[in-house]
């Protein structure tokens, strides 16, 4: 008799979380090797190529962090010289410094290479997967 499938092994939200975690694991290891924390990387990636910068709120949403967490992360990144704040009315615009932009460029290149390798291992299904993930994200 086969063991009945345990709930957690077929639960969609668990599969999503585990897939996300597993897929990111080795890239995250490379980040750590370079001394870059995951939240820092997310901000850099989000700001990469965003000429006009972004607001704290926008960064929070796309990086999946709460607003106070983001504020404090930005404190540290500013202290490290990666970005600068500019108050604009009631919102704060965040822009990378040249140091931050250089780091972002370098990491984005590495991420792209890593992604390409991952996609190659699921070549047929990849476009459909991305589309499906987008659908889920859109609700």
């Amino acid at each position: 008799m086969t063991t009945p499938p345990r709930f957690v092994e077929d639960y969609l939200l668990a599969l999503l979380a585990q897939a996300s975690h597993a897929a990111s694991a080795d890239f995250h290891a490379r980040l750590k090797a370079r001394g870059v924390a995951v939240p820092v990387w997310r901000v850099l990636a989000t700001l990469h190529g965003a000429a006009a910068g972004a607001t704290v709120g926008q960064l929070g949403k796309t990086c999946l962090m709460q607003q106070p967490t983001m504020s404090k992360l930005l404190d540290r990144m500013a202290a490290d010289g990666l970005l600068a704040r500019t108050r604009q009315g009631r919102q704060t615009r965040i822009a990378l410094t040249s140091t931050g932009a250089a780091l972002a460029d370098s990491l984005v290149a590495e991420a792209r290479a890593h992604e390409a390798a991952l996609l190659a291992r699921h070549a047929e299904a990849a476009p459909a997967l991305k589309a499906l993930l987008r659908a889920i994200i859109s609700g």
Copy 2:
């Protein structure tokens, strides 16, 4: 002219993380309404229907938490009467108390209902999606 696609908007790892986050959002809200933190839920879900319990290490892996984090989470859950530890040689076996099992049952039922609704919205693609996620998880 269309804006060039920003890196982060087409990056697979970001899509996975965002999809996972978005898909979980309203269930997590229900957990919060019941006063249950997400890591607590994950442990309950993992232990649900695991007659023999699990070890700290196993829980850490399936719940995507590091071992010291798990140890301390288990401290709190034990203090709340949700589970009990039993040292077995060099490992510690974790089993739900009846209180914990009742809570787990209730939450798992709610999670199944929530998942069913989500799957219904992506009926055709769901099996393929799960298969793909499993492939990613397996590396």
